[in-house]
Symmetry: C2
Subunit: 230 residues, 2 copies
């Protein structure tokens, strides 16, 4: 898959997420076997990155390293060469438990570098936890994907990268359309892209629109030369 | 005082703040009498708005409505016509205690509409608290000054204003230069101003630079037609 400018476009597939359960949608893959199966389908269709959460048996979010290990093993077997990205997001655990799977050395892990509101609560990423997670990622050679829910998160990521605090190439995902955080706004999206191009021209970026905004944000990202999460 | 474009420039004086104590700087006004005296000086020099916190006797931050009432009485007597703005910021109290002084009906009160990181912690403004504070401000006819620590806060303020959730004229303060939140960045400042001008042309806005950024952000704001906090 390549974007309109001819640069390779990396398609990123988010399996499961942390919120939906079988009760919401019976097609949501919950078990590791189901997750591997559904990722394999996406991989065969061209997805290059698998952004993964894991679940407990009852479908609730988990950050259990054993479950992440089983998922990693399955993905390595069935999707050889696919980039595995584990979520360290706050929905699946609290404090340092969010990074308990990093010693498994996935290729990438998500990293939030600031806090913001979510629909009904504060998404808390205190500075000391951000520092601990980025230290762990450096220790285990895990490249972070920065989850930017607001403009200052992008600037913070660029500063952290310049200070040598982030392993690997800088990689930022713009997250748009979460209620009480940044909406899916075209003018803001364009400003985000401009910040990345002028201040971190070597970096990669992608964009994710939440819920009904998914398709439109994907289109913006592909047209602007970023990659998207499907 | 007027700015370069000839529009009146409202000078906003922040007395005390919530953090410095006498140990940091013996000149910091702490008691209500000291606060009224120092505000009167600024008022006579042209300050039009007084942004006020109150303190306990030991200098620690407080949200005690009785202290706010004494301050309001002193300001009304010594600075007649000055706009009184009380802080509902999170440094001085937790949860609904932050809005306990709103029944005193100050002209204005600060209001945060999102969360973000501060130098060492999360500045928590959960959605239900934001809704409660803005409801109280409508009930007591208090005009909020939105404290925007990030871009999404500006867009959230505009949405809340359009939905009729904010009393009075929309009034947004850009806060820049807080570590781990938005830096004092000229390109971001210009984008903020553009958002306000194009999406809320009837609104007022001002800008505050924290610490060493105070003077430069004041200069940007005056030149761009906003007002500043000294
Ligand atoms: Zn991605
Ligand atoms: Zn995720
Ligand atoms: Zn002001
Ligand atoms: Zn204040």
């Amino acid at each position: 898959m390549s974007d309109v400018s001819g640069k390779p476009c990396i398609l990123c597939v988010a399996i499961t997420g942390s919120v939906p359960t079988k009760a919401d949608n019976p097609a949501v893959p919950i078990t590791v076997t189901e997750q591997v199966e559904s990722t394999q389908e996406a991989f065969e269709l061209g997805a290059a990155i698998c952004h993964a959460h894991v679940r407990n048996d009852d479908g609730t979010p988990s950050s259990d390293p054993d479950r992440f290990a089983a998922l990693k093993e399955g993905l390595e077997k069935h999707c050889p060469g696919m980039i595995i990205q584990f979520s360290t997001g706050g929905r699946s655990g609290a404090g340092q438990a969010r990074g308990g799977m990093l010693p498994l050395r996935p290729d990438m892990a998500s990293l939030s570098v600031g806090s913001n509101n979510f629909p009904t609560r504060v998404y808390e990423n205190p500075p000391d936890l951000v520092a601990w997670l980025s230290d762990e990622m450096r220790k285990y050679a895990v490249t972070p994907e920065i989850e930017a829910f607001d403009l200052s998160h992008i600037l913070q990521a660029i500063r952290m990268h310049e200070a040598g605090l982030l392993h690997g190439r800088l990689y930022v995902q713009f997250v748009m359309g979460v209620k009480n955080a940044m909406p899916a706004d075209r003018e803001v999206f364009d400003f985000y892209v401009r910040m990345m191009r002028t201040r971190a021209p070597e970096a990669a970026w992608c964009a994710a629109g939440i819920g009904p905004n998914q398709v439109v944000v994907n289109e913006w990202a592909i047209a602007a030369g970023g990659h998207t999460r499907a």
